[in-house]
């Protein structure tokens, strides 16, 4: 707003104060998570909260291996506890791996299936095209929460409970993914496609070699979106995963927070470790988080 340059009005000061207050509100809990994950629980719940982890509060930690031995606390004790859990198994790493496997497979398949279908809908004429499109759009109106019970029955009758297949297959593609791909490909110049056809490329090859490599922005947005949805997914794994080794990170955190021996520091350490993949994605690819996808993204919840 060039017209206001040089004038610091009262309004402008109010704006800054408001913006900074909200900034404090949004960032404080995150900074809290970072600092608390290095602290002794005594320090976390001391009043007033001291923001810098200090050795002054350190109490020895009792190991949960029946011998009752205690070890001195270091700044990394919380993380040790987070990874080894309360009963010294390394199920956390397995759960982390599960989450990664599920999230990556879902985002890859959403991109592939979504773009294939979106391409078919955007660039081909066939009987019933509008119907297919409307039908797929209609599924956007069916919230996952409303179909989880029958979906659970379908998965259990397909013997997919407690397996990667059960965790992944219901989220292979989303209607929103198809929609976004179609919208993007509508503007894709048909001349390219025709030229490739003249050059004798098969239809599937055209999709694979011409269409897909030219959709990078929408692929990134969609890939991140479905990665994030799966990383965040609590409800479905809660239904499907039964054995400890098939659980995902949200389930691990819920379980960990319920256990009696879990202290606040260890819980924050788990929370921090579980957020690292998302933080990495966010700070390297933030424009795909903030970009145009935002408008449509919310339809998925």
């Amino acid at each position: 707003m060039n017209k206001f340059i040089g004038k610091h009005t009262v309004g402008e000061i109010i704006i800054w104060i408001f913006l900074i207050l909200v900034l404090l509100f949004t960032l404080t809990p995150i900074i809290f998570m970072f600092t608390a994950s290095f602290m002794d629980p005594r320090q976390i719940l001391s009043m007033p909260y001291s923001w810098i982890p200090s050795t002054k509060f350190f109490t020895p930690v009792t190991l949960n291996d029946c011998t009752g031995t205690t070890i001195p606390r270091t700044f990394l004790t919380n993380f040790h506890k987070a990874i080894y859990g309360n009963n010294n198994n390394v199920i956390f790493l397995r759960n982390l791996l599960n989450s990664l496997i599920v999230a990556i497979s879902c985002s890859v398949s959403t991109v592939l299936l979504g773009s294939l279908c979106g391409y078919g809908l955007a660039k081909f004429r066939f009987k019933g095209r509008t119907f297919v499109f409307m039908a797929i759009m209609a599924t956007m109106m069916i919230p996952f929460e409303a179909i989880m019970i029958p979906l659970y029955m379908v998965t259990s009758s397909l013997k997919m409970i407690d397996s990667y297949r059960g965790l992944i297959i219901p989220f292979l593609v989303s209607a929103f993914g198809v929609f976004q791909m179609r919208q993007y490909l509508l503007t894709f110049p048909s001349e390219y496609l025709d030229a490739s056809r003249v050059d004798g490329l098969g239809e599937f090859k055209i999709y694979w070699k011409i269409v897909l490599p030219n959709c990078t922005p929408v692929i990134a947005t969609l890939g991140i979106l479905s990665f994030r949805n799966q990383w965040d997914n609590l409800l479905w794994p809660l239904l499907v995963s039964q054995r400890e080794k098939m659980k995902t990170i949200p389930l691990y955190i819920t379980k960990f927070s319920e256990e009696k021996q879990t202290d606040e520091g260890a819980l924050m350490a788990v929370a921090l470790l579980a957020s690292i993949p998302m933080f990495i994605l966010f700070f390297t690819l933030s424009r795909y988080f903030l970009g145009g996808a935002a408008v449509y993204e919310s339809r998925k919840g």
């Binding site: 707003m1 995150i30 239904l239 919310s298």
Partner: protein, 308 residues
């Protein structure tokens, strides 16, 4: 004649390819979206349980039960109340404050600082809901940061606000968590809407002697109305589906009754108690509520297009 036949066959071939490209998704959605919702409806008319494989047709008894009985202390009416309070208590502040933030951010002179604020406001949305709930569980501890903060605001000391104990405070707590997590996301939605308004309109307003306050009420808001309505409905739809925060708070020791939102009730009735028929009936009710809202969303986004 020969030529015509050839183009005809090319077109048919093309059509076949197009259809076969959409086929995988079509099959997928049939099995994992359409079939389950139809199935949910039929299951809701039976007394199906998770343990027994047999089930009888009982008509609309499940619905009648849900609307008249207490369902073991966790009635549908209570869930409706919990969901509605949560939705209204969350989406109104969220829409209002994110709109204010977006308008304020548009006033900033440096694109860098604008970008920074957007990014910072958005950061909580990157955390998964479970992590968010875990952080806030500790912040809401009697000796936690939020009590200290609230005490400073109200000039008291040592007062416990019972964030996770008192019924009303517990509901407010879940709202605060949700608000905190999604505020940045809605700010970005509004910024996208605001950026679409051509600067020429503002220039014209300034030339005509309008001040910023007037410009906002007379120009920005009316032009932004479709975005506001759309974003409100999106926010409402999202709030209706809330689950993780409430579940995590409940598992962390908070009472279930005040925050027993519909999704949580479906989960507990269907999975924990194994009453699949009754849970399906609840699912169908949730589906219908959301369908009505989605209908409004489509109606609004179609009819209310503003031309600049």
């Amino acid at each position: 004649m020969k030529n015509k036949n050839k183009t005809f066959s090319i077109e048919r071939k093309q059509a076949r390819w197009g259809f076969s490209f959409t086929l995988p998704c079509l099959l997928f959605f049939s099995v994992f979206s359409f079939y389950p919702i139809v199935n949910a409806f039929f299951t809701s008319l039976t007394n199906r349980m998770a343990v027994q494989r047999t089930s009888e047709f009982i008509g609309f008894d499940n619905y009648i039960y849900l609307f008249t009985k207490s369902n073991g202390g966790f009635s549908l009416m209570n869930s409706m109340r919990a969901t509605l309070t949560f939705t209204i208590g969350t989406f109104i502040p969220m829409v209002v404050i994110s709109l204010i933030l977006a308008v304020f951010l548009m006033q900033l002179r440096h694109p860098k600082s604008k970008q920074f604020f957007q990014l910072a406001y958005y950061t909580p949305a990157v955390l998964s809901s479970v992590v968010a709930a875990a952080i806030w569980l500790i912040l809401f501890d009697p000796r936690g940061l939020f009590n200290q903060f609230a005490n400073t605001l109200t000039f008291q000391s040592g007062h416990d606000f019972l964030w996770l104990v008192n019924n009303e405070m517990l509901q407010a707590s879940t709202m605060i968590v949700y608000f905190w997590k999604y505020i940045g996301y809605f700010v970005i939605l509004f910024i996208t809407g605001l950026a679409a308004i051509p600067p020429a309109i503002y220039e014209a307003a300034t030339v005509d002697g309008s001040n910023r306050w007037k410009t906002f009420w007379r120009i920005t808001l009316p032009l932004l109305k479709p975005t506001v309505v759309l974003v409100s409905i999106m926010a409402m739809l999202q709030c209706l589906k809330t689950f993780s925060t409430q579940y995590m708070f409940h598992q962390g020791g908070a009472a279930r009754q005040p925050i027993d939102v519909i999704t949580m009730n479906i989960y507990f009735t269907g999975i924990r108690n194994g009453r699949l028929g009754r849970a399906s009936a609840m699912s169908i009710i949730l589906f219908i509520i959301m369908l009505i809202l989605t209908y409004f969303q489509f109606a609004v986004s179609k009819s209310d297009d503003v031309e600049y």
